[in-house]
């Protein structure tokens, strides 16, 4: 009780301090101006807006302790040709006298920098740099469950192998759970992993994982921020049931050529950006794993002294390239490309020196990834109307090749057998979209339309078999599906007086496949009632529609997973979600707290039916699927410290999620795999000094649901096999809850003149969590004078994964 009281006092003292924290404490000696601004932003919540050319090489020497912001700024700019003006929440900088006209921001309004604007960097960054928190205070907006996460926040979240990871950073948000430990699965508010739309600069990506989901496909070194929506969703987005994530890339820098080079335990990255002339800039980023380099000496040792040579070669890579061009003050264009690729080659080969006997050359080749190419134009028609036009091509590809060549050399003859199995799984999308943003006096309207031409090749298998002179080649019926998708949307963010704000929108979509048109109407409404300055009460209704879904037989992200469009008698998947919440945030946004309750109904959702694997895969895929419904409900609490040297959050989620399918679990409702009743996430970042920062994250949640079959029955045998076997008795799906999951991750960043070191520890107290229960046998061997007795006892065992894993990387900045 005393502890609780103590904590309460500390909490209130902190809040009180934060409320009056418009005073600044800063000490800098010849530090670059942007760094100093960033620190002031953290302490005051003010944004800095200035021309990118304004600060060229500018450094500050300042020593202030609890001084008013104005005094600190006066001191900083005293001997410069820059003047500043504090305008609301912005500190606008401009050059004194002659350059004033050029740097003034036409129509600049702080609201430009709230959610969902056409990328502010893309529209005005060529002239303006904004040093701000990016995220509008939650109490001001109508959205619920929205989060804008900067690349710095992602990098400061401890991660497995030290690979900063967008999706794993999002897993720390309340209402988001991870699926299987270590893997980049994401389950939002009781949804499935394929119900999250992941976009790169507004273009959907189908494959967002590397290495079976161990790493996500986003190179955090070239990311600017991520928009994430999990509760209410802007009308612009649709096509998935649970969440929407738009990863926004950096634009090329205009103040010189800068970059980073990073080398970590599992991958390295090189990123560079800079100007090309006065109007154009470029960005290039390459991340590549180097497991294959590691495995070369290992394989050399493994293969030494043996006739069988084992192959193992794996890498993943992400390549981002972007060129921005400023045509005029009104028009900015860009061309960008992303290529993400996983390649695994493995197998074994017997020595070619064998003259008599049996030898085998076995190869497995897997390759899968995503290609995105897009071009866009941002155009400002007037100070209150902007538009973004985009054309994009996105391709998901996955191919696997299994090649097994066996030669049997006898003295009199040679027999050769070769079996090749190749599978292909592709999606090609052509996307054309136009998005508009119109600002009125008391409202902001966004509207637009897009057209997508999909081509699906969901799993095509070819077999080629040769036995001496005999040859046979077969192929599955190659079903390519073309689909046309069209979307229009409109939403208006309106203020009604000082206290009420609403965001109302409608997204309409058509999906045409198999000469059958399916359509969806997705109304959206979210409202904010500002009960007082720091407190907002919100409510929202969101409907989402999904036309494609992913078929996966495992909890891993594998190249054999298939994205399938809605066909046949299946209807589009839909979800309706209502939510209410309360948000509290201190002035200056130092502290924030929120509570969000939601209830979600999912309709026409699709899953494999019971014993789907007993239906031959050459059957049409729909024969293996079943349609049903699901519900999810819960409440998310979050307390966060948003700025200052110490930032972070504590969140708690209480949640339920279930599923009901006609042909699964006998039609009975069962808990979803991620029906995690209680989830607690704690994330803490501490900027100890300019050189050192520490982070820690702790996550704990009720264990995943699991189907545990405790009873066995006598397998019939039917004379096919000689031994007696047993089979598990079917039980209700997900009848068992695995033990409570918890894990602490730590990270430390140490900066020096040229870059920074990153150290990390995954699962710091080495609590290996249970991911499954398996059946096995335990042998008990007893030695006695009479001999040795062996007793074999059947046991259930927890399967536990991932112990303590340290990591280290160095990033060189130039």
């Amino acid at each position: 009780m005393r502890t609780l009281r103590f904590l309460t006092i500390i909490l209130f003292l902190s809040v009180a301090t934060a409320t009056y924290a418009q005073k600044v404490t800063i000490k800098a000696v010849d530090r670059p101006a942007p760094e100093v601004f960033r620190e002031i932003v953290e302490q005051t919540g003010k944004n800095f807006v200035y021309s990118s050319e304004l600060l060229s090489g500018l450094t500050f020497t300042v020593d202030a302790r609890k001084k008013p912001l104005k005094k600190v700024l006066d001191e900083m700019f005293r001997d410069t040709d820059i003047e500043y003006r504090i305008k609301g929440k912005n500190v606008v900088l401009r050059r004194k006298a002659k350059s004033a006209k050029k740097t003034a921001a036409p129509g600049l309004d702080p609201t430009i920098y709230v959610y969902n604007a056409p990328d502010p960097e893309a529209t005005v960054l060529e002239e303006l740099v904004v040093v701000s928190r990016l995220e509008a205070p939650a109490v001001e907006t109508a959205e619920m469950g929205a989060k804008k996460i900067t690349a710095d926040e992602v990098r400061s979240t401890p991660a497995l192998f030290g690979e900063s990871d967008v999706i794993k950073a999002l897993q720390m948000q309340p209402g988001v759970s991870e699926g299987t430990e270590g893997l980049a699965g994401m389950h939002v508010h009781g949804g499935n992993a394929d119900e999250n739309l992941c976009m790169l600069d507004n273009v959907p990506l189908y494959q967002v994982n590397h290495f079976a989901g161990l790493f996500s496909a986003f190179n955090t070194d070239v990311i600017r921020y991520i928009d994430f929506f999990k509760t209410s969703v802007p009308a612009k987005y649709d096509g998935r049931l649970s969440s929407f994530m738009d990863v926004r890339l950096l634009n090329g820098r205009t103040d010189g050529h800068h970059g980073t080079a990073r080398l970590g335990l599992t991958s390295g990255a090189f990123n560079i950006s800079g100007p090309i002339g006065s109007r154009t800039s470029y960005l290039f980023g390459l991340r590549r794993s180097w497991f294959d380099v590691l495995t070369i000496p290992v394989m050399a040792i493994v293969n030494s002294g043996t006739d069988e040579k084992t192959r193992f070669h794996y890498y993943f890579m992400d390549l981002n390239a972007k060129i921005n061009h400023r045509f005029s003050n009104k028009a900015n264009g860009f061309v960008s490309a992303y290529f993400g690729d996983d390649a695994l080659r493995t197998g074994s080969r017997d020595s070619e020196n064998i003259t008599v006997g049996w030898s085998e050359d076995l190869k497995y080749d897997f390759r899968w990834g995503n290609l995105v190419v897009q071009t866009g134009l941002n155009y400002r028609f007037s100070s209150d109307l902007t538009a973004e036009f985009t054309a994009a091509y996105t391709r998901y590809f996955s191919s696997t090749n299994h090649d097994d060549a066996i030669t049997d050399r006898l003295p009199e003859s040679t027999t050769s057998t070769r079996a090749i199995v190749r599978t292909d799984n592709n999606i090609n999308d052509w996307i054309f979209r136009a998005d508009f943003d119109r600002t009125f006096e008391h409202s902001r309207m966004r509207f637009g339309a897009n057209y997508v031409r999909h081509t699906f090749l969901p799993g095509h298998t070819k077999r080629d078999y040769t036995f001496n002179d005999f040859h046979i080649a077969t192929a599955d019926s190659s079903l390519t599906y073309g689909a046309n998708e069209a979307n229009v949307y409109i939403e208006d963010d309106v203020k009604f007086g000082e206290r009420l704000r609403a965001n109302a929108g409608l997204h309409a979509s058509l999906f045409n496949i198999d000469r059958k048109v399916r359509y969806g109407l997705s109304p959206r409404l979210s409202m904010n009632y500002r009960a007082s300055e720091p407190l907002a009460l919100k409510a929202a209704y969101t409907r989402t529609v999904q036309y494609v879904h992913q078929l996966t037989e495992t909890y891993l992200a594998l190249p054999t997973d298939q994205w399938i469009p809605i066909t046949g008698d299946f209807k589009p998947q839909t979800a309706d979600k209502i939510a209410v919440g309360a948000y509290w945030q201190t002035t200056g946004a130092q502290w924030g707290a929120s509570a969000e309750a939601y209830y979600k109904w999912m309709h026409n959702i699709i899953d494999y039916c019971d014993e789907y694997y007993l239906r031959p895969p050459m059957d049409f895929w729909s024969s293996r699927l079943t349609s049903g419904r699901g519900t999810a409900k819960g409440i998310d609490f979050k307390l966060e410290k948003l700025s200052g040297k110490f930032t972070g959050h504590i969140s708690y989620s209480l949640a339920w999620a279930d599923r009901t399918f006609k042909d699964k679990n006998g039609g009975r409702t069962y808990p979803a795999r991620n029906d995690n009743r209680h989830t607690i996430n704690i994330l803490a970042n501490w900027n100890v000094s300019h050189k050192v920062s520490l982070s820690a994250s702790w996550t704990g949640h009720s264990g995943n649901r699991f189907t545990l079959m405790p009873q066995m029955w006598q397998d019939p045998g039917f004379g096919i096999q000689d031994w007696e076997d047993e089979a598990p008795l079917r039980v209700d799906v997900n009848n068992y809850q695995l033990p409570f999951y918890h894990r602490l991750d730590l990270a430390c960043t140490v900066r020096n003149k040229h870059g920074y070191w990153s150290f990390g520890i995954y699962n710091a107290y080495c609590h290996m969590n249970t991911i499954a229960i398996r059946r096995d046998y335990r042998e008990k061997i007893e030695y006695s004078p009479d001999g040795v007795s062996i007793e074999v006892r059947p046991v259930f065992q927890k399967v536990k994964l991932l112990p303590l894993i340290p990591s280290i990387s160095y990033t060189w900045q130039f």
Binding site: Y465, F470, Y613, R730
Partner: protein, 333 residues
Amino acid sequence: MAILKHIISGALMLVLLSGCYEDITPRIDVQPVLCLNSLITAGQPIKVDVSHTWVYTDVEASRDHSVADARISIFANGELRNPDYIPREGDEIRILVESPTYGSAEATVAVPHAVEIASLSWTPAVISAGSWDSEEEHYEMVGYCTFNISADLEFTDPAGVENYYSFSYFSTFHSGSDENNGTPLADFYPGTFKFETEPIFSEHIGAFEAVMGDDTYGFPFFTDRQISGRSYSLHLCMADASYSVCSPILDPELLDCTYEFTLHSVSKSYYSWSLYQWHRDVGPLGDLSDVGLSEQLAGYSNVSTGAGVVAAQTYATATIPLAPFLTSTLNFE
């Protein structure tokens, strides 16, 4: 170096997989139920195997899961029959088992009609053949050969019903024996059956299984999904078969080698149980579910309690006599 290899392999496994296991006693209430197994063959008496389920960790129950108080009733086409009833093709057999201790269980299965083998054509291909002379004794029959056999087994799938099949082969030969020491005079090795030469044997293998390297070997079941209602020839291949003989007298019986190819018509329950077994023991789902990376595989059952399989089959057989081929190849004419 070998030790180093194992150390590195072990370290890699430790780092990459780093999993471990810990015994647990899960608390789940269970109720044992009846298990019912039977493979009904047209023309043969019905044998029913009754047992009860047991908790996996219950060692005693796993050793003895018999049911002492079971009462079995067999119905054919809706009528109660005697225990010695001989089922016929097309019969619908229902087996009901009742036990005061474990409750009741029942299952129904239709005995499939046999599908006739319309033709069986075959072609031998000699890999090597030869003879040798003995300096000590004169042998009338001496020779060896290795060969492949390609065969086409044609049948017509009955239209209008779902049919499930299984293929099996059997070889016979007459070895004879030496009058003096009793050693065999002839030897016949039927070779390796090449499942890969017949695409229908791989219809159960999808992209996921194919890339995981699971071949068709050892799974002779298939459906009529690709051949429904029409004639089809199974392309069968026996590779690296061999025959050798060394007999002092010319005995045509020693050349009496045959392949017996059998086409079974099986019930859906038989097919499903076999495919479940394949996934559990051979396919990747079994391994992945074992470590919790995919959904768990429950034993396939068509019994009301979920325990046991009642299946049915009929079959047709065709024979390949190798004697003429061996006679000409080894010049015993």
